[in-house]
Symmetry: C2
Subunit: 387 residues, 2 copies
Amino acid sequence: MYDEELTNLMIPGPVPIHPRVYRAMSRVIFGHRTPEYQNLYKETVSLLQRLLQTEQDVLVFAGSGTAAMEAAIANTLEPGERVLNLVNGNFSERWTELTTTFGGTPVIQEYSYGQAVDPERVREALASDASIRIVTMCHNETSTGVLNPAKEVGQIVRDYDRLFLVDGITSVGGDYVFPDKWNFDMLVTGSQKCLGVPPGLCAIWVGSRAWQKIEKRKQPSPTFYLNLLKAKKRYDGFGDSPFTSAVSLMYGLHESLKIMFEEGYENRVERHHRLGRITRAGYLGSGLELLADPAHYSNTVTAVKYPSGITDKEFRGQLQNLGILVAGGQGPVKGKIWRTNHMNICTERDVLSTLAIIEVVLKRLGYEFPLGSGVLAAQEQLLKEKV
Amino acid sequence: MYDEELTNLMIPGPVPIHPRVYRAMSRVIFGHRTPEYQNLYKETVSLLQRLLQTEQDVLVFAGSGTAAMEAAIANTLEPGERVLNLVNGNFSERWTELTTTFGGTPVIQEYSYGQAVDPERVREALASDASIRIVTMCHNETSTGVLNPAKEVGQIVRDYDRLFLVDGITSVGGDYVFPDKWNFDMLVTGSQKCLGVPPGLCAIWVGSRAWQKIEKRKQPSPTFYLNLLKAKKRYDGFGDSPFTSAVSLMYGLHESLKIMFEEGYENRVERHHRLGRITRAGYLGSGLELLADPAHYSNTVTAVKYPSGITDKEFRGQLQNLGILVAGGQGPVKGKIWRTNHMNICTERDVLSTLAIIEVVLKRLGYEFPLGSGVLAAQEQLLKEKV
């Protein structure tokens, strides 16, 4: 059994954390209702605003990314409203479950796993159904390694004057996400992906049009813990959260955001893009097929199809014995793909060693290909990169 | 500039440290003259004894490995005594400097860098010079990647009834070292190599014949801090050290030794051997030459000759920009070799990614070879290994 703490977490979250974040989290906690803590809280929120290039509200909750998705739906949706759910993977499907849970009527626009959302199909759906009030999308589909065209869809949803709720859980902090410029109305994220903090925090960006709908609700919001108006009121008044803040995780988020801006936002995003290119070159070089449409590759997670005869259990088990944890497939692609991340503090080293060891495991399991061909392709890509 | 804390320390020490050791070191310190601390101290010493498969004394000092080497010489050597220094690298040469410092007469048996000590030449030297009292050797020559035949030389030195002082700084904890069975009289080590602790601690194993010489000294030992009799007396009486112990480092050493025995001593040594084989296969596969005599490869550090036209400064600088720190050459091979470690928590991942990135840097610097050939050879080696 490989040592857990020496295993490389190549799963798409939680991902390896910078040692400075662990240190920040290990500091002795202070009272959460003190001006000192409120100052740190406000500074953290303002770093998140800087990351999203926004001056609008960002509210932080103790909870996973799903809690922020729930906050988005529970606060905006009124029972009986029709919601266009753009579904091209397991995480975009979660919006449908939330829509149903909170009494909405899902209008599902479905895509096969690996396909990206098509802005023209969104336009058609909105043009043909005036009763749709809300559109939901997953920006970076973690289950398929697809980056959806959020900017293009945002423009269309705005043209039709609907609310656009976006899951940015695996894009915020690793790829470009501009909720104001791209006409989002809500954007949710979680701490354990490209934000580089252990799981347990989520954040929600709320635009002015979303606030208008929330303020004009006929029925009160059906959530107590995730009530956004209450959260905004508390933050505006005191600079903290209505319920007990996850103090250590906030210390970690504060430090991680500082690290991001020390690296530089553009540099950081470019690194994620570069690691995506190297990863894809590597897998393709081993003769493997990727799940995602090549026009819409994610820059933070890559999904690879198993060659015939390779079982998920054996493959991931042997990799774990060699110190690398990767994720399997979900839903219709369960057992058919594996997924690796290139997020947060991931480096060329992580990507290259993961490819090299995956090749050895595939060879042991009988996949016929020239050993080393993937690593070579990845090395050739690195050779071309400006780094 | 690459983030220091995300850089992979592939230099032959200090090496990356297990997170549990960092955590152990971060615990609040306790009084160093308390039964509680003395119990931890004694337990740590007994784990070192278990590692060395000995019941003889192991004394720990706050200091680097060189301090332990100084303790070995300063306590045993009497001014005017002749010392046979077996010199086949920069670290074995240090014994000569110590011999001179403490008034001994060095008899240097020199080998070229990369060559191993030849037991027959040692026998000849001892047979022809009855006045030699002490023989010094570096077990694992960190400067050249050579593992010297300590067992064979130990037998010869014992046959001639001289004292055998051995530097095990980069072998203890990573390779087999049995001071009793191999007829050593003193063995020194440091914390920051295969023992997996930050620098600052050293240990010295003292055999009964060494104690006899120390006890019969005509002049008192010229060292105060490193006085072994004083250290033994204090340890036997109280279970700690005569001067203030490096408490946090001892917490770290205690934890690291526990981790070693959880992995298993044989498993640990086999891992070091395996990583050595994979590393060498990789370098040789890239068409590079190793410095060491193939019959005497070190299992913890590998030294590689620069191809002509590649400068040390550019090579190591570019590698550092890609997040890998390797060491250059010393003495006569300065600028002519680089060195990488495979020690402590080093994994197949570290070795493979180091090889992959070194290849890219060599290619950028103009070395002509088939890119990927070294990684492929390393992968083929890994494929053969039982892991």
